[in-house]
Symmetry: C2
Subunit: 144 residues, 2 copies
Amino acid sequence: MVEPGPPIPAIPAQDLDHISLAVPDLDAAMALYRDRFGCTVTDPIEIAAQGIRMAYVQLGNAKIELMEPLDESSPIAAFIARNPAGGIHHFCLTTENADDAAAAASEAGVRVLGKPGPGHHGKRLFFIHPKDSLGALIEIEETE
Amino acid sequence: MVEPGPPIPAIPAQDLDHISLAVPDLDAAMALYRDRFGCTVTDPIEIAAQGIRMAYVQLGNAKIELMEPLDESSPIAAFIARNPAGGIHHFCLTTENADDAAAAASEAGVRVLGKPGPGHHGKRLFFIHPKDSLGALIEIEETE
């Protein structure tokens, strides 16, 4: 008789790359993290494909992503409509191979949002549906 | 004439210690992070003072805190009532001296929730009201 081994994880997770905050006013958010918390904040960039303007807050071990919707058609606009002050939108875990992880997740019945594709930074990433992750939207990004 | 220097941050932030998820079923959440993501998950502990049962998911650079309400009187029970599947509850930044940071934050007009006091792990911590932080509940914890 052979005992079953431990399950092979569909998405072997490594680090917490960032948490992502949706904010109604990116400039106010950048000023808050710079002035109140003394953090380095990157210059804002516009990502038209995602309908957002965003910047990163650099912490010692991870980042905070700040996202402002560009217009009403942005996926982030609906979140801000529900949470006018802003709020925590998702968090991002790293994995060694995003394509393998997305395929294994789908096979395990986990809904993968979008096909794995490169983000604005060039790293491959995808999202897991919150209904398959205890209500939390999780981004999976390939390790640098 | 003397130019003003850069502002002194009230709460000098260092690392992202953890993100915290409220979940309706701690055992299911522990199994999900262990089996799907292959993470080490600590044994659950009960923190009666906070009305929760919790466990940590260990990532390479940070932790995910999983919190289940012990009963209806738990502050987390109200969050689960609004988000029955669970969701992202708060995140935690570290600072060198929690008492100094809480005093400076109060002086700057930031609402500090609770007095800085030791958490279940003995480290001093407090929370910032989401209304003073763009809708995100932020825990501030003294660096180890």
